[in-house]
Amino acid sequence: MPVTVYAVFYSSEVHDDMPSDIDLFLSGSEGKFEFIYANKLTALVSLQKEKNPVYSQQEVLAYASIVEKISKRYAILPMRYGSVVDSLEDVIALLQKNSESFYAVLDSVKNKEEYSLRLLFSQRHQHDTLNMESTEIIKVPPAILQGNTETKNYLLKKYQEHIVEENRHQYIEKIQSHVTQEIRKITEIFELKKRVTPALILDAVLLIERSAKDEILALASRIQSRYPEHNVILTGPWPPYNFTQIKIE
């Protein structure tokens, strides 16, 4: 019967802090959960009820919620939704084959939690800045673009857009550099993610000690005070999804 795998963690953590009843510990979650042991590792799994389950958003959220609950208790390697193997024997094989990689990752996330820190462009500020910069450029166009021809007017418009974009990049890089320095005061383990929308100035994921929650809150507050014209948002703690990516054999 197919088996859903939720997370992998050190067996020693479970033995030290064994929940008396896994299902009760994961109360509210559907399904029968089991701990599967191999080498020094444990996997939290559940047997799939149906051979061809229907995948839905609700199922994804339920899966994430279970991973979340377990991550609050143990240092885990969280699996992604859809991590299904054919049998319990395959779970054991998975743990045995990948034990060295799993140990390395679990050591790196021990006693740590993931947070997300985002800084967003305020739409009003963005609008004001762009207008101001465009006005400045119109005042002094480059010599080569002076002259009232159709092509020069077209190029001047493109040039203005180009300068606004360049200024915007420089502005964002400056803020990113400053915030990065601030983040380094708390942790060296962080990643800046690609800016997927133009309004995103910074999208960082950080791995910090569980005990450092107040520090990250203070950091968000400091950044907001420094850039009151923008929007700061801090979320977490999350299972360490962004810091446990390994190639499974």
Binding site: Y115, R118, L120, S122, Q123, P142, A143, I144, L145, T149, E150, T151, K152, Y154, L155, K158, Y159, H162, K194, R195, V196, T197, A199, L200, D203, K213, I216, L217, A220, S221, Q224, P228, H230, N231, V232, I233, L234, T235, G236, W238
Partner: protein, 114 residues
């Protein structure tokens, strides 16, 4: 996102919600080619690549303007070429019923093409 996961936010909550929705909803810019829409599916791929090249040409042109390395004739030539290229792209987009937003591809972890 669960509310208790938001530990701190500053600034406009409306703007934050709007932006987070954009970030989490992902980009629908995938090629969805089926036997029925293969023409527009292919057109979308080709026009996306042309648009990428056009934007690169535009950027290069702006760098040359910045570098002040163009003569009067060259600037007229450049302006006319870029202008006609943009007009031609607009015509093609209309023919295949595509918008600027359609001419983008999500490259997964690399982000958007344009």
């Amino acid at each position: 996102m669960e509310e208790d996961k938001i530990l701190f936010y500053g600034g406009s909550s409306n703007e934050i919600i709007e932006e987070l929705e954009k970030i989490t909803s992902g980009n629908p810019g995938r090629i969805n080619a089926t036997p029925e829409n293969v023409d527009s599916g292919l057109a979308k791929i080709v026009l996306t690549l042309i648009e990428l090249i056009r934007k690169l040409m535009e950027k290069q042109a702006m760098r040359r303007i910045d570098g002040n390395s163009l003569s009067e004739d060259q600037i007229e030539n450049l302006g006319e070429t870029l202008m006609k290229l943009e007009q031609k792209m607009d015509e093609l987009k209309k023919i295949f019923n595509l918008t600027d937003k359609d001419l983008n591809l999500n490259l997964g972890p690399l982000g958007d093409l344009l």
